[in-house]
């Protein structure tokens, strides 16, 4: 698991699983269609990504489908991350 994947995974577990919820969350576990994250609570995840990775995810791209697994969320972050500036 790379750094971004681990950070997203840990955030999902911390933010969305209730105490005593023993469901396992992997990179491909369905989060929204699987009932772990509802669309109402999804906004905090979007905000977390934007803040931590300095990205702007347009609302049109922040769909339940794009947020449905850790893997897809990471892909979304990569898609909107600006390429690193030389020397930065």
């Amino acid at each position: 698991m790379d750094d971004i994947t681990k950070a997203v995974h840990d955030y999902v577990v911390r933010e969305y699983l209730e105490e005593g919820d023993e469901r396992e969350v992997t990179e491909t576990t369905p989060l929204i269609s699987g009932g772990i994250v509802d669309s109402f609570s999804m906004v905090s995840l979007k905000r977390f990504l934007e803040k931590k990775y300095q990205v702007q995810i347009p609302d049109a791209d922040a769909t339940p489908d794009a947020f449905d697994t850790v893997q897809r969320i990471v892909a979304l972050v990569h898609r909107f991350q600006k390429p690193a500036t030389v020397g930065a």
Binding site: G34, G35, F40, S41, V43
Partner: protein, 415 residues
């Protein structure tokens, strides 16, 4: 005509998908007044059947109370049937304001504004009172109408884990840069029947300079020693900034809701809340009935006391029979079955045994949390509950769920 065949087919396909997903909702026609015993036509076209009703929000048994009916008749005679106007044109009668004053007094707030429903109160409040400089922090299990109201508002949205005060505190800390923070919760959560930790919420609100919004629809009239609601139960009367509640449950059960709270917030709703501005208010006949309800519930606590007794008795019966129920103190008692199909079959079999209850499953409750939600009423007599438990036991035995805990029930359905 624009409703061409391809459009019709599209909708038919969607409806079929709802049916295939087991999510299709069917109405059952009731041929009697709302009460603990009702006469039901189900399926449509079949002979009517007498049932014990254990799923109404008729907590205080006032939906068909003779004094309320008489007051509604009198109101119909003295103030007419309809207003044919929104409130601010020519749709406000003296009795609308009288009812608002009675609710203000009862809830211990500064002012109250009636809405066509509590759904409308929740849909209109946030947009009228908050903007992009503010943040709304809601419990994750708040009612759908609050979710809709928050979506209509430009303020930042956030949520905290259900009744998790540590998580709420983290969120409050995270949003200290906002102009205003509003904590949003139900008083009694409608699906689980548990009560919000309102005393702790108020403490956090004071610590982090936040306002508190409470939807007390499943509490007003019966939770708390004198029925003032969750704020009375938790010892924080007068400390809640906004209370929304309904006249459609314990308080007569007809229709209508309100926003009650800080004078300025109520005034903002009067000026800006769109469901208030662009819809007729509660009809005069309902206002007259609700005024009688307020008189009845402030004269005595007999009904809420009986409801409390009924709820304790029913919880004891279910536990004694070996059902897995959600613990709590409210008259909402969910019988946990976890599996959606089982919940539907169970409700159908209860109906065959003369008990009317409904199965709830995803998306109304989280996946794997299907249940039969039972609700007590002061209109229930002991013999109603004794009859109902026999039906529950018979159906429970048929489905092999008696004496099983969550793990065993889940294993039984292969989850």
């Amino acid at each position: 005509m624009a409703f061409i065949n391809t459009v019709r087919t599209r909708y038919q396909t969607e409806i079929e998908a709802i049916k295939a997903g087991g999510l299709f909702k069917e109405e059952r026609y009731i041929h009697s007044p709302q009460w603990s015993e009702i006469e039901v036509e189900f399926p449509v076209g079949s002979q009517t059947k007498k049932c014990i009703n254990i799923c109404a929000n008729n907590y205080l048994g006032l939906s068909s109370h003779p004094d309320v009916i008489a007051a509604a008749h009198a109101g119909l005679d003295s103030r007419g049937y309809g207003m044919s106007s929104v409130r601010f044109i020519c749709g406000t009668q003296d009795i609308h304001r009288e009812l608002e004053n009675r609710l203000t007094e009862f809830l211990g707030t500064e002012d109250t504004l009636l809405f066509p429903s509590c759904m409308d109160a929740n849909a209109g409040f946030f947009e009228a009172c908050l903007n992009e400089q503010d943040v709304m922090i809601a419990d994750r299990l708040v009612h759908a109408s609050i979710v809709d109201g928050m979506r209509l508002c430009r303020a930042m949205q956030d949520t905290y884990k259900h009744s998790d005060m540590g998580h709420l505190e983290e969120k409050l800390q995270e949003h200290m840069d906002k102009r205003s923070r509003m904590i949003i919760t139900d008083g009694v959560f409608s699906m689980d029947g548990d009560i919000a930790k309102l005393d702790e919420i108020v403490e956090l609100a004071e610590k982090y300079d936040a306002m508190v919004f409470l939807d007390d629809s499943h509490a007003s009239g019966f939770i708390g020693r004198t029925g003032r609601g969750t704020q009375e139960h938790c010892g924080v009367l007068g400390k809640i900034d906004v209370i929304t509640t309904t006249l459609g449950k314990a308080l007569g059960g007809a229709s209508g809701g309100c926003v009650s709270g800080r004078r300025e917030l109520v005034e903002m709703c009067r000026q800006r809340a769109r469901p208030f501005l662009f819809s007729n208010s509660v009809a005069p006949v309902i206002v007259a009935g609700a005024l009688k309800v307020m008189e009845l519930i402030t004269a005595t606590t007999d009904r809420r006391d009986k409801l409390e007794w009924n709820a304790k008795y029913w919880r004891g019966l279910l536990k004694g029979a070996g059902f897995d129920i959600k613990e709590g103190e409210s008259p909402i008692v969910p019988v946990m079955l976890y599996d959606a199909k089982l919940a539907q079959d169970f409700a159908r079999d209860l109906y065959s045994e003369g008990v009317y209850a409904v199965g709830f499953f995803f998306p109304v409750v989280p996946k794997g949390q299907a249940r039969i939600r039972t609700q007590l009423s002061a209109a229930h007599e002991k013999h109603h509950l004794d009859f109902a438990i026999e039906a529950f036991k018979k159906v429970g035995e048929k489905h092999g769920v008696l004496g099983l805990g969550k793990k065993e029930l889940l294993a039984r359905v292969g989850a």
